[in-house]
Symmetry: C2
Subunit: 298 residues, 2 copies
Amino acid sequence: MSVTALRDPLLAGALEQIAREIDSMFDALLPVQGTLAEAMRHAAIGGGKRLRPLLLTATAAMHGVDRAQALRAAVAIEAVHAYSLVHDDLPCMDDDALRHGKPSTHKAFGEAMAVLAGDALQAFAFEVLSDPATSGDPFVRAELVQVLAAAAGAHGMVGGQVMDIEGEGQALDLPAITRMQMLKTGALLSAAVEMGAVLGKQPAEGRVHLKGYARDIGLAFQIADDLLDHAGDEGKAGKALRKDAEAGKQTFVALLGEDRARDQARMLTDQAIALLGSYGQEADLLRAVARYIVERDH
Amino acid sequence: MSVTALRDPLLAGALEQIAREIDSMFDALLPVQGTLAEAMRHAAIGGGKRLRPLLLTATAAMHGVDRAQALRAAVAIEAVHAYSLVHDDLPCMDDDALRHGKPSTHKAFGEAMAVLAGDALQAFAFEVLSDPATSGDPFVRAELVQVLAAAAGAHGMVGGQVMDIEGEGQALDLPAITRMQMLKTGALLSAAVEMGAVLGKQPAEGRVHLKGYARDIGLAFQIADDLLDHAGDEGKAGKALRKDAEAGKQTFVALLGEDRARDQARMLTDQAIALLGSYGQEADLLRAVARYIVERDH
């Protein structure tokens, strides 16, 4: 379904708005001159659903955070996501020529520049977060860095990517693939929600349900991704599909079958929404995101 | 000259000590289990002169900083340096098989794992810096991140690497190669000194001379590197030499000739030492580092 055809007008508006805002924030903050700047902009601007920024800004808004500050943190986490896609697409990794309907960064700029543009995007993320413009409170800045760095590293996203590579051609069972996906995709989605709560100065106890929500939608998102990879439309996806099966990677769909995978994603979504029970209508956008994740068609 | 044959006993002791301390700090803080952890440890432990950690801890010691905290910051900057070498050695970059006398990370673990180990080392650096154990003062933690992220990114180290790649086979003049090296090597050396001053809660004004010192020794270091690459011993260097000339890269030695390059390095060292004029014997280690940089033979 296209963004405008979304049944939920609140979510449709929010998705359009965040896509616009993230592009313009990247445009304002990324380096301007030279090939490296071009490669970073190619990788970061004009692509993706901006799901992490949406989760971060929606959670921040629930806690009354200034939107400009939330958008800076959102750009930082999206820079980490974007760099991971650049490196993931490299010939020595997934070897993908297409990303968000454009040539992947190494196809457009060469492999060396893609490695370096990814590296610079990661540094950019932490430079943005630690800048006083992101929060006047140094404790908040340091904690934003702490949450994102932990989620991005060996015990988070990169750790999940390694489990994914090492699992190729192996018969991973459901607990193993769940663990892998909770790191590979879940860690950053969870960090998005947590960073919104950090900006809103929520104490760690107050973040427990929000993190549970993020964990559940992260897994639901991955199951939905597997379903789309299995049956989706390459034109809408803007990338090659059914590569997982070719690469001998285990997926939720292969393990559970299509019907049970779909049930599992719905169950996780319901559970995520239940975890928002203590919030009123200020959490409606997070509820809509949870439903969107299993209903989207790209 | 080997470390033990150094004429300056203060420096010889400091180099031995920091090498031991950094290895043991990496050992304590890096992930332990699995291939990713092994690759990160391969890249980070047991190699290199630990010049950045030495500069950082020496500057921190001048300002009365607790050594355990300074070592955490030192491990963070060394993790960024180590990751840059891992990515620099990749086949699509300099394609080096040897680093610190061992197989480079992609030779030992494969290209995909080397890309990911480098990525995880960068995240690790910011995770360590933003941890309250590095400083109880959140302002210091946020500022450490700010300084390192800026030095590591598109306007620092990675920017210099891009200029280096783009300059291959081109007739760079002295200002261009100076600009490139000030980013590629100088930014991180300068950050090391600045991070020591940040830990010591020195205001920005108080860091001007220290940063000038770092800039000068950074350039002297690079000229000395070019001289060693031109005439050095591969066994001592633990890596392939004379690759710059083969790759059509411009060097200070090619531009200035050996004698003038040597004079230039000495002049920069004298200037760096002069910038420490307002300090007493607490800056003797930084003075010794400046001299060491042009006198070392590997």
